[in-house]
């Protein structure tokens, strides 16, 4: 009887983990480009404020669609200004604020592409057969890449080479595994060892990617979310951001 009860108890805990551990963690939706700095920021924040933080990485558009449908996030770090503003306009989020400005690069793991002088030459190189770009609708870094390619008149000629990833994290994954020759990535990929193993060129024609964040109004941890939001623009975090390639 006792064992049966224990098994039942365990089963209930498995099915409803929230019973065992009430949802006391801050849930943060982070645009995939911000993965590297956010992991450091989170560590600092948890140490300082003793608030548990759980994060998910995906494209900005994906999170936007989820939040509109009531996804239980407390804070949203987007890769553009537009989506947080739309959430604010719909009364779903507090007023957005800018927490970082990112830059677009082309990244390659191929040693023979290191000779390229600028990113256009790299893209045009005959050795480049496949180019990864994130989903243009959902990922602001992909939108920026499209703008840059159009500006230099390469958009039409690269069509046959484009491979579409779900977000910039998948772009980097494709480029790093060598599945594609080049990927349009955020500069922040150079902030970890995997990024350092390759070679990059800045895409100057791409507009700087201004990234805004907002606290979700339905949040059950409004106070903690506001605290993390404020922490995002603190001097400490600024140092991390700049080291990893954000302004």
């Amino acid at each position: 009887m006792k064992t049966r009860l224990t098994i039942l108890g365990l089963a209930i805990c498995l099915v409803f983990p929230s019973l065992a551990r009430a949802g006391d963690k801050l849930m943060v939706a982070v645009a995939a480009n911000y993965m590297v700095p956010f992991q450091e920021i989170r560590e600092l924040f948890v140490k300082k404020y003793h608030i548990e933080v759980e994060q998910t990485f995906a494209s900005t558009g994906k999170f936007y669609a989820q939040i509109i449908h009531g996804a239980p996030y407390d804070l949203f770090l987007a890769a553009d200004e537009q989506r947080p503003k739309l959430l604010f306009d719909q009364g779903l989020a507090t007023e957005p604020f800018i927490y970082a400005t990112g830059r677009l690069i082309v990244w390659t793991a191929k040693a023979d592409l290191r000779q390229a002088k600028n990113w256009q030459d790299l893209i045009k190189s005959s050795a480049v057969q496949k180019i990864a770009i994130a989903n243009i609708e959902n990922a602001p870094y992909a939108t920026a890449a499209k703008i840059a390619l159009e500006k230099v008149g390469l958009w039409d000629s690269v069509q046959g080479k484009l491979v579409f990833a779900q977000d910039v994290a998948q772009v980097f994954q494709y480029a790093h595994t060598g599945a594609v020759d080049v990927g349009f990535c955020p500069l922040s990929v150079m902030g970890n060892d995997l990024g350092q193993s390759g070679f990059y060129l800045k895409v100057d024609q791409a507009p700087p990617i201004v990234q805004a964040a907002c606290v979700i109004k339905n949040s059950k941890h409004r106070e903690a979310a506001e605290e993390l939001a404020a922490f995002l623009t603190s001097a400490e975090v600024m140092a991390i951001k700049q080291r990893i390639g954000y302004e």
């Binding site: 494209s59 936007y64 669609a65 609708e137 959902n138 491979v163 579409f164 779900q166 060598g178 599945a179």
Partner: protein, 221 residues
């Protein structure tokens, strides 16, 4: 409205079905009639894609079908083109993903065959290969058709593996399931709705057909 993804899904399902049925008929035959050491191991291996998360399959395929991967290099050596993020690439992924759905119904049909037929064929001096084509296959037609329909339907619904190794290229690897997923994520609900509504009756008809076939083979045709 972009209908290309639906056409691509149908094309993928059709190509996968034809190749897979041809390739796996001998395998199903061996599993049904032959005894050899390690048979249980082979059976488990064939069934692995049923239980394996598509992401596991997708992950390994991404590595092995890439330009540095063994499969990718082999393909490039043979055809001069790369394999990953291409239509042949997702066909290969689908072949692996739907393998058990091809093997199982065929194998069951082979096992139900009257052994006396095979023995007569042997006594009458028919070679094993000829027996396979002239006796086994015609008598296991129901199983073959069931396999084909299941593979077709399963490939039509394939999502996770293609998400990882497809690259969502319009007209090449952006199949219906991926197009629906992306339409939903981009809040293009009308497009998602139309694509989804087209798929539901198609899948329903397929299942209806499988049931009819099963009943037919159960009562004897």
């Amino acid at each position: 409205m972009d209908w290309l993804p639906l056409y691509l899904s149908a094309k993928l399902a059709l190509v996968t079905t034809v190749i897979l049925i041809i390739l796996t008929a001998p395998l199903a035959y061996i599993l049904a009639f032959c005894r050899f050491p390690g048979k249980t191991l082979v059976e488990a291996l064939v069934n692995l894609p049923v239980v394996l998360p598509p992401t596991v399959l997708g992950f390994y395929l991404l590595i092995y079908m890439g330009p540095q991967g063994a499969l990718g290099r082999l393909w490039e050596a043979c055809t001069g083109t790369s394999l990953i993020f291409t239509f042949p690439g997702i066909v290969l992924a689908s072949l692996l993903y739907s393998l058990p759905f091809a093997v199982q119904p065929m194998r069951a049909a082979f096992e139900k065959l009257d052994r006396r037929l095979l023995e007569s064929a042997h006594i009458l001096g028919l070679y094993p290969v000829a027996t396979f084509f002239r006796v086994v296959l015609p008598n296991a037609r129901g199983g073959l058709i069931a396999s084909a329909i299941l593979v077709f339907a399963h490939t039509l619904g394939e999502f996770g593996v293609i998400l990882m190794v497809g690259g969502s290229i319009p007209g090449k690897t952006k199949v219906a399931s991926i197009a629906i997923f992306e339409a939903v994520e981009a809040l293009r609900y009308r497009e998602a709705m139309i694509l989804s509504l087209t798929l539901i009756p198609v899948c329903y008809l397929i299942l209806l057909l499988v049931n009819l076939l099963n009943r037919k083979s159960a009562y004897g045709s």
